[in-house]
């Protein structure tokens, strides 16, 4: 019995290692591409040991450093998208969770359905509209347009968090005479703080990783990192070290966020499946 248990444990560890190899291996390999000497990039058989160097990073960040301002732009756009998203989605999620709303199911599904529109198809109309109001190339235009992705997702996620808060807590407060906004602000939201964090994390990552909207809506000075990686993908040759270095730069903030706030990730992703 014990041997059987040990066997299954070993199997589990092997499975875990396999999972790591498959999902983390390529990432490590790509990071290697950013620090290895250019000639070894396509060596066959692949060269696993090499002399690492930071030339690629120096090129993209310092001289000529095209990606350094893009890094800042990505930060501004992503944080802005999250900031703009919360005041809209949190009240909506609260309402959908706490109140009887007619057609709730349809409204919920409508939010989700918005995610089915192909973003590419919106680019030209957005471009024309945004240029006509004079917002072309501004951070605000990208932050605004990104709400089409962040709000639906946030509403769903936040609603499932708020669903989990026992209504007794709110009832007690209401009985004490608290108005609805006091209840929401002082009772419910502090409890779903982890939910807000997770929602913001995902909104941040979606905004950070989005390439379609900045492709058309940004100017040279407001371009974000994904656009920067495309820039190295020229017709006259692909400079792989630079792409990898820019890509690593683009990968780091979301990765850091998810690793630092890891404990909220699992809590966040139940989508209200089972009442805890």
């Amino acid at each position: 019995m014990l041997r059987q248990k040990a066997f299954f444990s070993a199997l589990t560890y092997v499975g875990g290692l396999l999972v790591l190899a498959i999902f983390i291996g390529p990432i490590v390999w790509f990071i290697a591409l950013a620090i290895r000497p250019a000639e070894t990039a396509f060596a066959m058989p692949p060269q696993f040991t090499f002399q690492p160097g930071l030339d690629a990073f120096r090129h993209i960040l310092v001289n000529p450093g095209t990606n350094a301002p893009q890094l800042v732009n990505s930060l501004i756009v992503a944080i802005g998208a999250v900031a703009l998203n919360l005041p809209f989605s949190v009240p909506a999620a609260y309402a959908l969770s706490r109140f009887k709303v007619r057609g709730k199911k349809n409204i919920m599904l409508w939010y989700l359905g918005l995610l089915m529109a192909p973003p590419i198809a919106f680019l030209i109309p957005y471009f024309i509209l945004i240029t006509r109001v004079g917002l072309q190339g501004t951070y605000f235009s990208m932050v605004l347009v990104l709400q089409t992705i962040t709000i639906p997702f946030s509403v769903w996620l936040m609603k499932s968090f708020i669903d989990e808060v026992p209504s007794e807590l709110e009832e007690a407060a209401r009985v004490d005479g608290a108005r609805w906004y006091t209840v929401m602000w002082r009772i419910t939201l502090p409890i779903v703080r982890p939910g807000i964090i997770v929602t913001s994390m995902f909104a941040f990552v979606f905004a950070w990783n989005n390439a379609a909207f900045p492709l058309v809506l940004s100017s040279r000075s407001t371009a974000t990192l994904p656009i920067g990686t495309l820039g190295y993908f020229a017709t006259s040759g692909v400079t792989w070290n630079f792409i990898a270095a820019a890509a690593v730069l683009a990968m780091i903030p979301p990765m850091i966020i998810f690793l630092v706030f890891d404990r909220y990730v699992v809590r966040g992703l139940t989508f209200g499946s089972v009442k805890g």
């Binding site: 999902f23 089915m116 192909p118 590419i120 919106f122 639906p152 390439a211 990192l225």
Partner: protein, 309 residues
């Protein structure tokens, strides 16, 4: 105070609720709805109007003539429409199914609360945090017929690699694109399903175990039904995202070789940002939106029919 609460009658408020109080939930929902409507409605209406005109920026800067449904006819008869539709459906359906299956398998693996497995889980989310465009570059590098890691691994294991590379052969290109997406999003399924399975109350599991349920029965008859709602939602989300992908295809294959990896999303990109045929791309947008709508509506009516909200 508690005495008061007990003695006070459970009656409705003597004063008629204010407008705000009565419509409060709708007022709270309204801002997001208005924001989204304006952000989505404008382009869709713009596309609807443009789709009825001949407007090709390569020919003239403004719309030229009213052509009614001609753009729609042209879009449906386009040489690549059928291929693009088939590829898109294959990618979306197979991708979602594979990601779900593998995600579930990994989730079950993670549920074995052995020490160290939480490291695996923490790291597992990383592929999903990468921008799809970057994933495209990553896999282009891995698939390189000259020095790509995957090419090398396949050869080491004796699997046949077409001489023009996995991305260069019409038979393997779509699978290669699919694999890149599976690599990126299986962790998402894994972690969501893991989180949901985790919140299945222990009492139910205990009761099932007492009833001598086998692990397989436990999985199929007990756990899966309980996480049904989450599973259905994320499957739908992923399907819609997959249906619309274009940036990975753009970087990996540009829709080639031939039409083997051309997707509806890529066709939209090509007609809009390369050919600048605004009328045609607007018609294609509406066709795509309608198709996805139909599929999702069918899916929703089937999957959500018994759901409580």
């Amino acid at each position: 105070m508690s005495v008061q609460t007990v003695l006070a009658p459970q009656a409705e408020k003597p004063v008629r609720p204010s407008f705000v109080r009565r419509y409060l939930p709708y007022l709270l929902i309204a801002p997001s709805v208005i924001m989204l409507l304006s952000l989505i409605a404008y382009p869709l209406l713009f596309a609807l109007r443009s789709s009825l005109y001949f407007w090709n920026l390569q020919i003239a800067p403004q719309p030229l003539t009213f052509v009614g449904l001609a753009n729609y006819v042209q879009a449906l008869n386009a040489f690549d429409f059928r291929d693009a539709l088939v590829n898109t459906l294959v990618l979306s359906v197979t991708g979602t199914a594979i990601e779900f299956a593998f995600g579930l398998a990994i989730a079950l693996l993670l549920l074995k609360a052995l020490p160290g497995m939480n490291v695996v889980r923490a790291l597992l989310i990383l592929p999903t945090t990468i921008a799809p465009i970057v994933v495209g570059f990553l896999f282009r590098y891995l698939y390189d017929p000259g020095g790509g890691l995957i090419t090398w691994l396949l050869r080491v294991f004796g699997a046949p690699v077409p001489p023009m590379g996995l991305l260069g052969s019409p038979t393997t290109a779509l699978a290669a694109v699919l694999f890149a997406d599976v690599w990126q999003w299986t962790p998402f399924f894994a972690i969501v399903l893991y989180a949901s399975l985790l919140s299945v109350p222990d009492e139910i599991i205990e009761a099932a175990r007492l009833d001598r349920a086998s692990p397989l029965t436990m999985l199929i008859r007990i756990k899966l039904p309980l996480i049904r709602r989450t599973a259905v939602i994320i499957a739908m989300l992923r399907f819609m995202q997959l249906f619309n992908t274009f940036d990975t295809v753009l970087v990996l294959t540009r829709g080639g070789p031939g039409t083997s990896t051309r997707t509806l999303g890529y066709s939209l990109y090509e007609q809009g940002l390369i050919n600048f045929n605004i009328g045609l791309v607007s018609a294609m947008t509406w066709i795509t939106v309608l198709i996805v709508n139909i599929i999702v509506a069918l899916y929703v009516s089937f999957a959500f029919r018994n759901e409580e909200w």
